[in-house]
Symmetry: C2
Subunit: 120 residues, 2 copies
């Protein structure tokens, strides 16, 4: 199966941040990215990068569930494994424009990843 | 674009429960469905149906974000609009076997849909 350009971009992005290289991950992100995250709407690469950088260090492993691609959109479902949980999934729906991640809808259940007072 | 059989099954299922007809929705669900929901692993159609029936009445609208299909897997991203929020997304990753929904990974942020003590 041939993977789309959009899928390749998301794959590079995902492998970078989940291996702790947030700086490299951000090279795949548009300056004016808009991301809907749990409890926060993030606008711009800096705010988005700060959000990812705040979570990345707590990652101890990753388990894939599924990847989907349709034109300029790519979806990932996976388990971001932390000291708190290895069985709480995350999902992301990315929109790629001009070779960069321009929009993201990011889902996870904050309660499954720790006490609410400990998270933004 | 031709839609896959799996996508058609999920579409019928989704339209049924989001219009309040949980009984009809459950005709698309396998007896031995396994669903990972926020804070709960559900096994069997009865437990799954109870979970959906517990949420369906609070739905006041729905806004689609994206649909993906890949073989026997289908993903939905959408906003289940309630009195509490119209901008908190949900995502579902379904696996279809023998014409029924056999597995589901269901994601939403419980904190975005109401106070934690009011939800399972």
């Amino acid at each position: 199966m041939t993977r789309t350009d959009a899928e390749l971009i998301v794959d590079e992005y995902h492998r970078a941040w989940t291996s702790g290289d947030v700086e490299r991950a951000m090279t795949y992100v548009a300056d004016d990215i808009v991301c809907r995250a749990p409890g926060a709407d993030l606008t711009g690469k800096e705010a988005y990068g700060d959000f990812i950088a705040g979570f990345a260090p707590s990652l101890v492993g990753i388990a894939d569930i599924a990847t989907f691609a349709d034109g300029d959109r790519v979806a990932l479902f996976y388990y971001p494994q932390t000291a708190t949980t290895t069985t709480a999934p995350a999902a992301e729906c990315f929109t790629i424009r001009a070779g960069k991640i321009a929009e993201s809808v990011l889902l996870f259940d904050r309660l499954s990843f720790g006490p609410p007072e400990g998270r933004r």
